[in-house]
Subunit: 255 residues, 2 copies
Amino acid sequence: MPIAPLFRPIDVAPAYQKVADAIEREIVNGRIKPGDPIGTEHDLVRQFGVNRSTIREGIRVLEEGGLIRRDSSRRLHACLPRYSKLASRLSRALVLHEVTFRELYEASMTLEVASIEGAVERASEENVAELTDNLARSGAVVGDPARLAECDAEFHVLVAKASQNRVLQLAREPAAQLFYPTTEMIVTGVAEGGPRLVAAHRHLIDAIRRRDREAGVLWTRRHLQDWRRGFEKIASLDRSVEHMYMEHAQAARRR
Amino acid sequence: MPIAPLFRPIDVAPAYQKVADAIEREIVNGRIKPGDPIGTEHDLVRQFGVNRSTIREGIRVLEEGGLIRRDSSRRLHACLPRYSKLASRLSRALVLHEVTFRELYEASMTLEVASIEGAVERASEENVAELTDNLARSGAVVGDPARLAECDAEFHVLVAKASQNRVLQLAREPAAQLFYPTTEMIVTGVAEGGPRLVAAHRHLIDAIRRRDREAGVLWTRRHLQDWRRGFEKIASLDRSVEHMYMEHAQAARRR
DNA sequence: ACCTCTAACTTTGTCGGACAAAGGGACAGA
DNA sequence: TCTGTCCCTTTGTCCGACAAAGTTAGAGGT
């Protein structure tokens, strides 16, 4: 017969964790605002009354979480976590969980369509300008798959940005980080891929400008279906995302 | 005239970062599989030829990233990053970026609809059983807002799980973590809220069982619109997500 | 008074060694 | 089989130290 639970487990966190939690609390509840300096390590030693090694372990935790950074002179200050950095954590997780391209495709279809809908509804002049600029640059590198894939990734980030919905922006990022690197392979493998891609972007900008939701959704779908057809010429949609992607991500994360 | 770039910037990362990167690489590219033990700190000291403090800082980084854990006996081993832990990082970021409930609502509408579509299409017997079990428990606590809100959150996690799409599962989580805590307030404030919530869940399970996509989408929309109506009785959709949510998240993350 | 250069001073990254507390294993005794 | 004990290992924390890089203040020239 199991004994009745009389006591709750007591919360005994190691000191470095308590340090990290304490600083996190101050940042998250707004007492320390993004940009504000945290003290030097020595300051923190004094304030928390623990050894510098302990402080440093706590700092690593917060740094990895994106809550604090060291500026050019290596001093600590609070900062707003950057989406792309967080997203690369998620991408890494998706790789480890061995998600398939089918899952990626399905999720992206949803997320990119939602992005374009938001963009059509709320894109600002500036958003459109950025997109137009991107289109021009894409047109210039249509023969260079690597460069073009980069532009494509940026284009969709800009569309998400134009949706003015940061939750959507963040939600689509992990999938996108895994999704768009394949664009290079596809554009390389399929001759008419580059021009079709640029044409789709042109139609999308047009749809945003005319606030034509139907057209936006239609061209986003086509654009993704193009990707899919291209991909299926190379590999099965049921293949899991490859490990090699992570090299990309690791390099990107450090920036 | 700018000089031609003769040298690439050399990679001068601090030692603890290199340690973390090296271990991460081995995990991500699969040479160390989830569950495999990493050596003891002393082992790593020997292998990397750096001081234990340096090793420990590297370990903190990986631990925070969810790539390694310490088991009950505090020994290190690799593990699959847990979605909920990663998602709470994102939720935290969304709070700091002061996203509005409108953004949350819009994104959730997209993501939850996509989840139900996937669930209708691919839910297994077991998924349905889990959902049914959840429904029963919800019915039992319909008068207890806190408990009911918990069930509601779990219900939607289960729907996402039933979609068999892990990308979607991950993408919806951050928004959900911020979204569903409000359910408690709403159910408390609106008398008919609890029963309506449970009824919606029942219809959703029904739709999944009958593989009736239309019904699934319809009831998900209604369910979310109910939330919205309830929320707007309390506050404006344009209010930014409150800092207080994070207390939830911090506690949850440590588990 | 303004600019530049140098000489302290501070801070970070890393190192070596130290110790208490907790866990794991082996072993003896009930 | 269960329990208690001894020993060894591992972790969490501390202390003190030092080189490299950054910062500050003051000396010196204009």
